[in-house]
Symmetry: C3
Subunit: 109 residues, 3 copies
C-alpha cells in the first residue's frame, strides 16, 4: 500500500508513467517506492445498450493520510496521467483501517 | 458515479438492460444518465475444490444518498436484472466520501 | 459474504485450498460454507517501467465481526495460502454495512 487499481487506462500508459509517478508519490507519502502497487483491471463497460469505452478511473486504497497528502497524491496522479495523453480522470480514495490490514497474518494496528 | 461494478452476470445481460436501468436510476438519483458507469468484471470463482459459477453481485460505489434512495436504487437494479433472467442478486453499496473523490484533480468536497 | 477477492495467487492454488480454507473460515465465523465466495481477479501489475508479478493480496468484504474473529480469519487465510507455497500475503478487510447490503432487493439491516 498504497495500492492503485486502474480502469480505462491502457497498461502501456501505466508502464510509461509508472516510474516517475511512483517516485513522486513515494516522496509525497514519505515511504519507499516498493510500498506502492499499480494494478490494471480489465473491465467491459456498458452504456446505453452497448459496450463502450471505460472511463479512466483510479481507486487508491491506503491508510488515511489526511487532506494535504491526499490532495497532492491526486494532483500528481492526474498530472502524470495527463502527460501520457489521458485528459479525463476520476480518482477515489478507499480507506483501509490499520487494524483491518494484515501483513503475513500480523495486523498493522 | 454512481459506479456499478458487476460480477457473475453476462455482459450481454447488462447490455440488454443498461438503457432502461440507467434511465430509472438517474430519475431516482435526480442526476444525468451520464453520471452512471456500468463495468463488468471478469473473475474466476472457486468453491469446494473446483471452479464454479460466479454469484451475481453488483457493488454500487457512490456518495451516500440516504436510506430511501438506496432502497429504491437496490430495488430497481434487482428488478431489471430479474427481468433479464437473473433471479438471485446481491448488491453492496460502497460509500466514497466527497473529499476523497477527485475529478480532474479537483476534490468533490 | 464473506467475499474473498484474490489477486496475485493462481486459480489453481485457490482451488487446491478452497475446501479446507472455507470450512475453517465457516467454523470461525459460525456460518455455513455456502456463505463464502472466493473470486480470483486477473490484473496486470506494473512497477518501475514494466509489467511485474502481482503481489499476493486478498480483500475480504464482510460485515464487521470484531477483532478476535478478524484476527482468526486473517491467520487462517495466511496459513492456508502459505501451505500452498505462497509465503507473502497481505489481507485487507472491507466492511459493508448491513443497511447497505441487499439480497434479492431486501436490505440486511
Amino acid at each position: 500500500m498504497p495500492q492503485l487499481t486502474v480502469r480505462g487506462i491502457g497498461v502501456d500508459v501505466m508502464v510509461s508513467i509508472s516510474r516517475p509517478l511512483v517516485e513522486e508519490l513515494a516522496a509525497i507519502c514519505q515511504c519507499g517506492t516498493d510500498h506502492f502497487t499499480v494494478d490494471c483491471l480489465n473491465v467491459v463497460s456498458v452504456f446505453d445498450g452497448q459496450a463502450c469505452n471505460t472511463n479512466p478511473f483510479i481507486e487508491v486504497a491506503w491508510f488515511e493520510r489526511g487532506r494535504e497528502i491526499r490532495d497532492r497524491v491526486a494532483e500528481a496522479i492526474t498530472r502524470h496521467v495527463r502527460t501520457a495523453g489521458v485528459s479525463e480522470l476520476e480518482i477515489a480514495f478507499k480507506v483501509y483501517k490499520e487494524d483491518g490490514y494484515y501483513i503475513g497474518g500480523v495486523p498493522c494496528g
